[in-house]
């Protein structure tokens, strides 16, 4: 049943999602081509001016499409979540012979997959832009340098572990953003009889500020440890320092995992127990 639900959710979101995605991917090489022509082509002044004007306009359009693509993905996914559960459409949704947790799981998985797809489309469009503008090797070189300076020379095993942890942290952060919006929409719909969306937006800002403060304190703790360790734990062996650093990163993961689980379960509880569409 989950597969069927996901299929319908995907259809509903993809119906419009592909438009900004394809536009962004099509704009990338076009914008890149004009950047290339302006930067590298040996042309006279008039042609250069014309090319520069076109390039600036295309670049503006590209940046707007890039931002629109991210915002629209969030909008499409969470609009589906809101309409399917909390508007008149909800009456039909809840008559389906499906458990509410399956309904929520379907929306959650589809939103997560679409968010990851959006991130991949954005990354692909940037890569296309870099390659077509003639700066591909420069960008690759820069990324390589950044990675080398960030990861240092600690060997493949350590670097691979750090990359996996960072990737996991990124995915958990994506989840927390998504779960927070879903939680705010659900709570807004539960506590407000009218202006549910307004209540959801207010709750989202309130909750995101509180959680943002917690996250800042948590991240600050890791930073302070690194600063303090150099002076106060200077006799600590490198191996022990590495183990502690790794465990602190696991604590980051557990922090986000716990936050995500609590937000998801609170949303689920509200949908299962407190929803009153009458």
């Amino acid at each position: 049943m989950l597969t069927k639900l996901m299929r319908y959710d995907f259809r509903a979101v993809l119906k419009l999602w592909w438009i900004p995605a394809v536009t962004l991917l099509a704009l990338s090489p076009l914008t890149g081509l004009f950047i290339y022509l302006v930067s590298f082509a040996d042309t006279n002044a008039v042609a250069t001016l014309t090319l520069t004007i076109i390039m600036i306009l295309l670049l503006l359009l590209y940046i707007l499409t890039f931002a629109a693509h991210i915002i629209l993905t969030l909008f499409f996914c969470h609009r589906r979540f809101y309409c399917h559960f909390f508007t008149d459409e909800g009456y039909l949704t809840f008559t389906l012979p499906v458990r509410r947790r399956t309904l929520l799981l379907s929306k959650t998985l589809v939103t997560f997959i679409m968010t990851v797809a959006t991130v991949l489309v954005c990354a692909a469009s940037l890569a296309l832009l870099a390659v077509s503008s003639g700066y591909g090797s420069d960008v690759a070189h820069w990324i390589g340098n950044q990675m080398r300076s960030f990861l240092g020379d600690d060997g493949f095993a350590v670097n691979a572990t750090v990359i996996i942890i960072l990737l996991l942290l990124f995915l958990l952060w994506l989840c927390s953003t998504q779960f927070l919006i879903q939680f705010a929409i659900t709570l807004g719909a539960v506590i407000a009889k009218k202006h549910k969306i307004l209540a959801a937006i207010g709750l989202y800002y309130l909750a995101s500020n509180v959680l943002g403060l917690l996250m800042t304190l948590f991240m600050e703790f890791t930073t302070v440890f690194t600063a303090v360790a150099a002076v106060r734990f200077s006799d600590m062996s490198t191996a022990r320092f590495d183990v502690i650093s790794m465990l602190l990163m696991f604590m980051d993961i557990l922090f986000l995992a716990m936050l995500d689980t609590i937000l998801y379960l609170l949303t689920l509880s509200s949908i299962e127990r407190r929803l009153n569409l009458a």
Binding site: L217, L254, L265, S269
Partner: protein, 338 residues
């Protein structure tokens, strides 16, 4: 009305285009040509010959940032490649070439006169010197030749040597001494001043083998041991003065530390005081992030597991995560204290 707006827009665009034609004028840069091997470039009056940059020398400052260049023009080579040409400084007689498809990083073009100057520089006749700080800082101060000589003479006479593991060097007190050519275009790090146990030392790069340098010729802090010599007499005064001047003028974070007539010793005391404050903050944050937060999660999980008995199992996931978190915090605490 709509028609009128369309006409006005068209007219405005035409006017803009015409104005831009006048404003742009002609492309009046020099026209460069080269031979088939790209071994020489000429603009008709001056010929620039290609030379390879020797190992250890680089363009610009100690961070490898290119010097300020003036764009000269582009050059088509081999019927396919477009090469952009830049000239650093004023009329230095040196040209750099950049191309999307060709790797021209390790070469430069110079007139015969400029090349003779450069060869003397590459051979060790250094004209001017600068001191930079740390491995990642862009700012530099000029070092008068007399001060450089004082440091190096003291270094040469010093008998107090010390072996240092390069990975343990504090980069906040690592000052590479950079020599530059007459035009200020090329640089080479000839050594570095460093502070160890509140004393000044000098590391002479000219005595080190290639294993101490990266592929681009920069000093490597990854591994290895170097021998450094302690500075004495006037050299210490010079080094203190240089460091104070450096911190005074260039580093926002460290400027207040040495600006008010402070010494390196007082800097060390301040650092110790800051570290103590950070140490307290660290333990406060540690208790909060390591114990208070997971305990809160644990409480939430247990409360909901009790209240929602049919769904208790899902809330035990939260309890499990919080428990694991507390466990890891405990392990970290033991590792920190034992």
């Amino acid at each position: 009305m709509r028609k009128n707006i369309f006409r006005i827009t068209l007219l405005a665009l035409a006017a803009l285009l015409t104005l831009s034609l006048f404003a742009c004028g002609n492309n009046n840069g020099k026209h460069f040509t080269s031979d088939a091997q790209l071994s020489a470039i000429t603009d008709g009056t001056t010929t620039y010959t290609q030379h390879a940059l020797p190992f250890g020398f680089y363009r610009g400052n100690s961070l490898g940032e290119a010097p300020v260049c003036r764009y000269k023009n582009s050059l088509e080579w081999d019927g396919y490649y477009t090469i952009s040409l830049y000239e650093p400084g004023g009329d230095s007689g040196i040209l750099f070439a950049e191309s999307y498809s060709l790797d021209l990083d390790g070469v430069y073009f110079a007139t015969d006169e400029a090349e003779a100057e450069l060869q003397a520089f590459f051979g060790g006749q250094y004209r001017n010197f600068a001191l930079s700080c740390g491995a990642n800082r862009a700012e530099r101060i000029l070092v008068p030749v007399a001060q450089k000589n004082t440091i190096l003479s003291s270094y040469a006479g010093s008998v107090a040597t010390r072996n240092v593991d390069v990975s343990t060097i504090d980069k906040d007190y690592w000052f590479p001494l950079v020599a530059k050519d007459k035009s200020g275009t090329f640089s080479v790090e000839i050594g570095a001043l460093l502070v160890l146990n509140q004393s000044w030392y000098y590391a002479d790069f000219t005595t080190l083998d290639n294993s101490h340098f990266d592929a681009d010729g920069r000093f490597s802090f990854r591994s290895g041991t170097i021998t450094v010599r302690q500075l004495a007499g006037d050299a210490v005064t010079v080094a203190n003065a240089l460091a104070t001047r450096y911190f005074d003028g260039n580093d926002d974070d460290l400027a207040p530390v040495l600006a008010e007539g402070k010494t390196l010793e007082s800097v060390a005391e301040d650092n110790e005081a800051n570290a103590t404050a950070s140490f307290v903050l660290f333990w406060v944050l540690y208790v909060f992030a390591g114990f208070v937060l997971p305990a809160a999660g644990l409480t939430v999980g247990l409360i909901f597991a009790t209240r929602q008995k049919p769904h208790a199992r899902r809330w035990f996931i939260v309890v499990g995560i919080a428990g694991l978190w507390l466990l890891i915090s405990g392990v970290v605490l033991i590792l920190l204290l034992v």
